[in-house]
Symmetry: C2
Subunit: 321 residues, 2 copies
């Protein structure tokens, strides 16, 4: 067991309050507010040459994606900002924070600013607060027979990162998705009224589907050949088996995974038109585990389902534990 | 103007939402909840040889002190934890977090854990959420004629730190205050019903009194010879002019500074008995500025009023800007 896993287990034991939801959700619920906090660190969660404004954008988006998965409406954010050096990087970073806060109606209402010694990696955190809707779906509410639906596509951000790792001047729609992800707030709000379980896909669809299954105490099946891929992804990497496994495990997706009752057709829910909703699998009886199919037949799971022990903001970078 | 000041000014311009209170308070107010976030960094806000459990305790206490100044009751916290190395330091740190959360009835309800590269300074953050009472005093509500009252004493923590800087094995009540400060939650709750302005004293009483005066748009006068000093402080450093200036500017105090109407006698408020409440000055008409007196006569201000640009958790360490 890694150090990080041990420490997270200790935190889960201590966080016994119902508002904590066992730390199994990415957000806490308190007095009608949904509250989440994600931190990102230089060299761990973002590339040294990522434009600082895109890092600011992503820090907001990753937190808003957690609110989206609980169907909450953005209400306020507190920024934890470190300053290293002359402040030029931080000034551009703040421009990204401001742009994303304005785009999604998230007022900045507080936080803290501290100066770090030169050469320290920057550590940037955001607490995002949303107002809960009538229902706040847990990650743990799924039951055998529920259908798993995915809002959005998978693989684009990981493919954009792979382009940047080959050529840091790479550009195009996949790099745009990696740098300027869009949290699916309106979709989350519409689905939250009906979803038995919901979470955002951040560490790889297969790993996150397993987590939903574990939290819900049932098995999950994902149809690899049904996964929605964007045109840009297919143009770049094709849609063969290897590409589908890459998309299903790449992470940093900002898609939503929802367990809906089998008799609910989400096309009746008047979801906003921007993102697709695709049936990708189902929950079934039995021990919490993940089964993968293609063409209706069981296939072997890939060795790695996603990125363990990462904050949901983490791109799939080399050298992480 | 330092980089940090410029960046904070930019944040203030952007944080135009009423819940932000112009970022002049240490806490935001949203839907009946008071929300604050403070971060601390290794080598900046705590000493490398500080026991990790005491660092955890302080991180909780510094945030609860912000809630105390707004009269709020602890409701929940989200922890932003970095892990560097084998996790031993972090395990002890969490023991301190747990002890202080349990002492003050603050449930841990969420957060984020990220692993940093070896040799990175640890950056630890906490978002503390409290339920607001009937009134949430701003820092900016003071008016000429109000009396300034201080709950608690000043100088103990700075004196404890000075002892540790001479001898890292130093012990005693001043070191205890530096390492295990007590947020004045019950006092804050009682005073919040009546205070026209209130804040916690964290960066030096003189600097914080000036900030309260600036936020309130009036002048402040502090009687240096009236400042409450603990027996332990007087035993260690005496109560001469230099010691009083040290106490008034040392910071890391966790005391509360309240502007009360002149006709209100706080001894009628049935404050809890643990901490003293002392009249230390008043607000007056005129430009926002600080005047210092001793024996009823004006005296010169010390060159440094406190610790600029620090998070409220910062001990007065050398080498900070």
């Amino acid at each position: 067991m890694t150090t990080e896993t041990q420490i997270i287990q200790r935190l889960r034991q201590f966080a016994a309050d119902p508002a904590a939801r066992g730390l199994l959700d990415d957000a806490a619920v308190l007095d009608g507010l949904v509250i989440t906090h994600d931190s990102i660190a230089e060299g761990v969660h973002f590339l040294p040459f990522d434009p600082p404004a895109s890092v600011g954008w992503k820090l907001v988006a990753v937190n808003l994606s957690d609110l989206a998965a609980k169907g909450a409406t953005p209400a306020g954010a507190l920024l934890s900002l470190t300053i290293v050096g002359d402040g030029e990087w931080e000034t551009e970073f703040l421009a990204g924070i401001e742009a994303s806060c304005e785009s999604y109606g998230l007022p900045l209402i507080g936080g803290d600013t501290i100066a770090l010694p030169d050469d320290s990696p920057r550590v940037l955190g955001l607490t995002a607060i949303g107002r809960a809707g009538d229902r706040v779906p847990h990650r743990s509410g799924g039951e055998p027979g529920d259908i798993l639906w995915l809002v959005g596509t998978v693989g684009d951000s990981a493919a954009g990162l792979a382009q940047l790792q080959l050529d840091k001047r790479a550009a195009g729609p996949l790099v745009d998705t990696y740098r300027r992800p869009v949290p699916l707030l309106a979709d989350g709000q519409a689905l939250a009224q009906h979803a038995k379980a919901m979470m955002d896909v951040s560490d790889g669809l297969l790993l996150d589907a397993l987590r939903l299954a574990e939290a819900s105490g049932c098995a999950a099946e994902i149809a690899l050949d049904e996964l929605p891929l964007s045109n840009a992804f297919v143009t770049e990497r094709g849609e063969g088996h290897g590409s589908r496994v890459f998309a299903a495990t790449g992470g940093d997706d900002y898609a939503l995974l929802a367990a809906l009752p089998a008799d609910l057709d989400p096309s009746t829910l008047s979801l906003p038109g921007g993102a697709s909703i695709t049936r990708v699998g189902s929950l079934g009886a039995g021990q919490p585990q993940l089964r993968l199919t293609s063409g209706g037949r069981p296939i072997e799971l890939p060795e790695t389902l996603g990125h363990e022990h990462r904050s949901s903001s983490a791109p799939p970078m080399a050298g992480r534990d």
